[in-house]
Structures are given as structure tokens and as C-alpha cells.
Symmetry: C2
């Protein structure tokens, strides 16, 4: 049987180089959008509506019953929104049954780029839902793009490490002739046992830890603590069952 | 003293994210443009004129005394040009005193992008002239961009490994808060002792080895066999003395 093809895309600015038709795109924004998405859905959020702008977020929040607005720009809560982009903000006791309207610097932007570029299916991935993502990809037997949200289009390590964790798990199920995937897998195998130490070297760590988010960042590289599959459908991310 | 800043740019499609003013840009196209440039200059070529198009290459070849035209597209010699992009094509007995008018898929394109984006100085780097590059960068004490030519804007490993070799050598002389540089350095230290084996896993190896260029590719990852510094000045690359 012909194996499906997998590529890793290291920045949204490189997404246009790939054909997304008949392809599942995995949106990866480890610090912190896709970790927060997995956590909120795992804890019972009804759905998450990713939007590009703060204005849209506020307007949609007002129009949607039982919803909250949340997001960040440059790692900080935005004026006019109610909550931030921390997975710790969304325990079951708070988020269950609610709709989260979310806007972030990189992850929600990449999701809409994938949508506009004709992705057949869109899911979100992060260490908290690593196994849910890899199991889905191995079941579907379709072409896959692992899309790193990066930081304002610049390469980042945390998204690459997650892409590498996925490649490492699914490698025998796909045809992978992709230097970015090979690099990501090697970086992941090199650091999978010292992740908490290694992420302290990343530029994103220095950016966010200035806001006292160390616990958040360590949670965001912990595998399978919110094992749910967020699937984008009709404008919202829902937990697939 | 304030240290200069170093960044690694993994694809020409990301170059616009960086400020190139007051910055030395190192053009990296390991397979094979910048390896060939170093080799031809080391073997006594008077200068190398990098051009974007085949038409320009032919026209400039006709207009330039004692010149030859050379280049590749997709790894193959182009109809209308005299020579290819193999460093083996340019021994001293052939190239000494000549001007090489060169066009390639990725490297010459990135050089012109750097020029158009206001780079203060442009040099070219490859394993054959690794030490010449690192010594120059440590002497100059200016900001540095290590620019990977990639493959049609897609990330490649061989350019990344060379960027990593540079980072590894100059790291104490620069302020480096750049995930791409950190990744490149780790990939280089991981593979510096098995380079000939590891490059066989890259997509570029599979692309070029189909044309029987294995010896070329092994030469292109051999450090310091053509230790010259190609500096771009007035439209041409010259060996700096």
C-alpha cells in the first residue's frame, strides 16, 4: 500500500510552499495556544472559536451565549478580553460547558492561514494531547502537514520539538522525505528526557518567563495530560469523540 | 563591551523578518553554490559574478573577457551555459585568472535578496572555507546573519549544519538569542563526526546523488580544503586578502 506523505513546516511564512488539499494540517503552538485549547476541551469546554482579531473576539463573545473571551498578544492578556492564554486559567470547575472565543499571536493566525490555503482537515496539537494526535494521524492514513506556529514567523524550538515527538511516533506509517521532519525528530529524541531543562534555553522561555509563567511552560511540555483531539469544524474547535 | 548579535535564518522566505543594516550576511548554499565559489576562488579565479537568470549569465559571459558561464537549475547544467555547479569542475589548471559568471537555483538568488534588503556586507560560506568565515566574523565584531539558501525556500539540513558549525566556533563572541542558531549548533555537534553518513539522509542527497554526484557532496561537507574568504564588492565575489 502506498503510504501517505508527512511534512513539517517550520513557520507560517513557509506554508504556501505546500499543497494542503487532501491533507490533515496539525496546528502547533506549544507556548501556549494549542496547549490551552487541548486543556480547555479536555476540561469540558463546549467548543473553542479561534479568531484573528481582538475586535472579532469581543464581538463574537457578546453574540455567543455562555461564552468567555480570551487571548494574548506578545504573551500578555489583551485589554478588552476577559482571560489570558494560560492553560491554568481553564479548570473543569470554570470552563465546563462554556464556549471559549480565543485570539493569540501565532496559533490562531496559522489556523486561519491553513483554512484559507485549502486544508482538508485541521486539528491542533500540543504535548498535553500528543497521543490523541498521533493515534488520529495513524488511523486516518491521509497526508499530513505538521504546522509550527513559530513566533511572528520566526522559527521556534518548542513547536519543532512537538513536531519531532509526532514524527518519532508515526514515522513507520508515513513516507517522510523532509529535512525539517528529520531535524525535528532528532531534536526531540535528543531532549525528550531533559525537556524541562532544555526549554529554559529557548527564546520563548525568556520572553514568557518574564511574566512569571514558568509553571505554565513546564505544563505545556508535559505529554498526555489533556488527551483530547480538537478538530476544527464549522468555525470552531470541538473535542472529537 | 556590548557583543554583536548573531541570528540564523533558515530560509530566504524568512530573510525579510531581520534587519540587515550594519550586518554581515553569510550566504550559505552548501550543495553546492558556495562550496563551488570558495573552491574556484581558492584555485585562483579572478572573480565570480553571481547572476539571477540564465539570460543574464549568457549576456555577461559574452561581455566579459576571459570569462566562462556556469550554473545549474535543479542540480543539472543549464542548456546555453558552459559549465555546471560542481566544485570539481574548477581546478587551478582551468580556472586560474578567469572570471566565473554563475547562476544557481538558491544561493545566487539569496545573495541578491540580501543585497536588495540592505545588507552592509555579504560573504559566502561553506565547509571548504569554514575557518576563513569564522575568523572574519570574530575579527569584524559586527552583527551577523547566517543565511541558509535552503531548497526553493524549504528548510534543508546541509545549510543548517554549516550554520551550526559557525555558531559552534564563534558562540562566545556574539550575543545569540535565536532558536534557529541553537538548533543548528546542536545538529552540528550531534553530526560533526558522522557527516558523510548523515548527509545521505538529507533530501538534497537523494535529489543530487541521482546525478552521480556523491563525491561532490562529500567534498562539500569537508572543512577547510579551500580556505578563502569570498567578499561581495561591486557586483562580484572576490577572495579577500
Amino acid at each position: 500500500m502506498k503510504q501517505p506523505v508527512l511534512h513539517t513546516v517550520l513557520s507560517p511564512a513557509l506554508l504556501h510552499l505546500y499543497d494542503l488539499s487532501n491533507t490533515i494540517v496539525v496546528i502547533i503552538d506549544v507556548f501556549r495556544a494549542t496547549s490551552t485549547i487541548a486543556t480547555a476541551l479536555y476540561n469540558g469546554a463546549e467548543k473553542i472559536i479561534p479568531v484573528d482579531s481582538v475586535e472579532q473576539c469581543i464581538a463574537l463573545g457578546k453574540a455567543t451565549p455562555n461564552s468567555i473571551t480570551a487571548g494574548e498578544r506578545d504573551g500578555k492578556v489583551i485589554e478588552g478580553l476577559q482571560y489570558g492564554n494560560s492553560p491554568g486559567d481553564y479548570p473543569k470547575s470554570f470552563i465546563e460547558g462554556k464556549t471559549l472565543v480565543l485570539t493569540t499571536t501565532n496559533g490562531t493566525r496559522l489556523l486561519h492561514m491553513a483554512l484559507n490555503n485549502g486544508a482538508a482537515e485541521i486539528i491542533t496539537g500540543s504535548f498535553p494531547n500528543l497521543a490523541a494526535v498521533t493515534e488520529f494521524l495513524m488511523q486516518q492514513k491521509k497526508n499530513v502537514i505538521l504546522g509550527c506556529s513559530a513566533w511572528k514567523d520566526k522559527f521556534n524550538l518548542e513547536d519543532t520539538l512537538f513536531a519531532g515527538a509526532v514524527v518519532n511516533k508515526v514515522t513507520n506509517h508515513f513516507k517522510i522525505h523532509c529535512d525539517a521532519s528529520l531535524m525535528a525528530q532528532e531534536m526531540y529524541t535528543l531532549h525528550q528526557d531533559n525537556m524541562h531543562t532544555f526549554i529554559r534555553k529557548t527564546t520563548h522561555w525568556h520572553r514568557l518567563s518574564a511574566y512569571g509563567l514558568e509553571k505554565d511552560l513546564e505544563y505545556c511540555v508535559t505529554p498526555n495530560v489533556a488527551n483530547v483531539l480538537p478538530l476544527y469544524k464549522n468555525g470552531a474547535l470541538l473535542a472529537m469523540h
